[in-house]
């Protein structure tokens, strides 16, 4: 029973916020430095999460463009006893499948390097590989031609002695123009260079190599053995890869679907998630450490502030404040610092993401939830950091405090 018609002391939320703001503004330098910890923590958090999102966005778009439309099939023979699984009309058979942009056979020819040379007088080359590349494979590999052209299916069928070489190799061989119809020899067999390629999306190996028609290679050096890893490279339309991968074995050999093994592309979505998760987990842990350091910073400075403001706290108690009012104010100040730090940190983090994305020509990926969540994290960190100083402040005895 209260003996008295006196209502309890009160501090409205509006008054509390005004008092917190007033106390923080009174010490601008200290407030800014205190909030800096949270600025860094939240800024790092936003930056790493945003950059992880942005980077995995780039990773997946790279996969979407290339890997998702590439299917490769490899020779599944374990010994040379079985028949070579790619019939001579492989290109044509695969081209009939829906969803295929281009398909062809590629294998490495077992010719030793010093047997590659440019013209009868040129010195021999020591580091050039020779590949058998069917005419259809050019549409799958999609290299860029800087001079001349690719040989076509006719050259393949007619076993013409023509070659397409990489630009780097052409430079080393001294071939600057194709108008003179330069020739190179492989094991003393002359080949006319008909094309020079400068980039290759699916098979960069070809840039340093000599490519000759598949039929020519088979006529001169025979079908490849089981260990040469002859492959079929298939470029598909977007989204057709999985479907096409299932149809290839039957299209090539209806009697033995185990003659070749087909590698469908990884599902880009699961791949992106996996990469993203690995990256995010690590970086989020780092960001959390930053936040923890920020929280300790706020807690420490606020605690020092409580000790410095003992007299003020005593005065407030003498003016009628209850311990909970004192605690609420200290915690409120800490929370406001955390919240403001979180806002500034979020802004800084977004700027960093934008800057990095601009510098790398990436598309910045930033979830709106993160932009809203991050200041709230700052607020939460500030509140938690203020718990202990607030409880200390609430326990200060006014009689002791006012003696100062």
């Amino acid at each position: 029973m209260r003996p008295w018609a006196i209502e309890p002391s009160r501090l409205t939320l509006r008054q509390l916020i005004a008092e917190c703001a007033s106390s923080l503004v009174a010490r601008p330098g200290r407030s800014a430095l205190t909030a800096l910890g949270v600025v860094l923590g939240v800024g790092t958090f936003v930056t790493v999460v945003g950059l992880a999102n942005t980077a995995s966005g780039q990773i997946s778009s790279a996969f979407d463009a290339l890997s998702a439309t590439t299917v490769t099939a490899t020779d599944a023979r374990v010994s040379d006893s079985g028949p070579f699984p790619y019939p001579s009309d492989t290109d044509a058979r695969l081209a009939r499948l829906h969803g295929i942009v281009g398909a062809g056979t590629i294998w490495h020819l077992d010719v030793s390097p010093d047997q590659v040379g440019a013209g009868p007088t040129a010195e021999t080359l020591s580091t050039a590989d020779v590949y058998a590349v069917s005419a259809g494979a050019w549409r799958a590999v999609q290299p860029r031609v800087t001079q001349g052209r690719f040989y076509d299916a006719f050259a393949d069928r007619a076993r013409q002695r023509v070659a397409v070489i990489g630009a780097a190799l052409a430079k080393r061989l001294g071939i600057t123009t194709l108008t003179t119809q330069p020739a190179i020899t492989i094991q003393d067999v002359p080949f006319t260079v008909v094309g020079v390629i400068s980039s290759s999306v699916r098979d960069p190996e070809l840039l340093l190599s000599v490519s000759i028609p598949r039929g020519t290679a088979q006529a001169l050096w025979g079908s490849p053995g089981a260990k040469t890893a002859a492959t079929v490279v298939v470029a598909t339309r977007n989204g057709a890869a999985s479907q096409v991968a299932g149809e290839i074995p039957a299209a090539l050999d209806p009697t033995d679907e185990h003659a070749i093994s087909v590698t469908p592309p990884p599902d880009p979505r699961s791949l992106r998630d996996q990469v993203g998760n690995d990256l995010n987990a690590l970086l989020v842990v780092l960001a959390l450490i930053c936040l923890a350091v920020g929280a300790v910073g706020i807690a420490n400075t606020t605690l020092v502030g409580v000790v410095e403001r003992t007299a003020e706290i005593g005065l407030r108690r003498a003016l009628g404040a209850r311990p909970r009012h004192i605690g609420a104010q200290i915690m409120g100040e800490s929370a406001v610092l955390g919240g403001v730090g979180g806002l500034v940190g979020t802004s800084a983090g977004i700027l960093v993401i934008l800057a990095v994305s601009l510098a790398r020509h990436w598309t910045a990926v930033m979830s709106p939830q993160l932009a809203l969540l991050a200041p709230a994290i700052g607020l939460g960190v500030g509140s938690i950091a203020g718990l202990y100083p607030a409880s200390r402040a609430a326990r200060i005895e006014p009689t002791e405090a006012l003696r100062r």
Binding site: R2, P3, W4, I6, E7, P8, S9, R10, L11, T12, Q15, E19, S22, S23, V25, A26, R27, A311, E312, G314, L315, R316, R317, A318, L319, G320, A321, R322, P323, H325, P398, T399, L402, R403, R404
Partner: protein, 230 residues
Amino acid sequence: MTTTQPAAVELIDVERTYPGPPPVRALKQIDLRIPRGEYLAIIGPSGSGKSTLLNLLGLLDRPSAGTYRLAGVDVSGLAERDRAACRAQLIGFVFQSFHLLDQRSSLENVMLGALYQHRTEPTAELAARAARTLTSVGLAHRLEAPPSRLSGGERQRVAIARALINHPELLLCDEPTGNLDSGNTATVLGLLDNVHATGQTVVVITHDPEVAAHAQRRVAITDGNLTEVD
């Protein structure tokens, strides 16, 4: 008259013992009656129990035994929640070291006196009231000045205005001129005389005879015992 109107303060057999070891009896069976509107000085050297008595009167501390009636109501057993309410509405403190907030203007410091009141009034209204109170202590021209730009006497007048803004039952001054030179001491004592003249109950705790001389009545405290002086 005393039968119809309760005294502002009534202490009956009040004891305050600080738990040991060894226990210290800071106040011993104090009896003190302060009628409403009186100006009382409590005199005593340091360590005599002055501060303990001040804390008890100001409801910052509780008596170990005895009864304290403030405005006729027993407050000796109140919980902190109710003591805080009484401090907010019934008591105005004036301290030796002023305890003004450096970063706030005189007006804001006086407004702080009403912050924890149960009834919240609009800021503009409160500011007007604070301005009137500052005017009444002769600082109408210093409303916006921060304490750092005020003289010691002016600072104490701001503190007195802060204590008076709630129209307290009891104005409790702890060495109000302890940090002031003689000129400022005279100003502040004159102001306290004026405040008392309006009917305000004033209690001043001091060791300075000049300050005590302004009061209507003087009591001395030595070793926890209270005696009337004359």
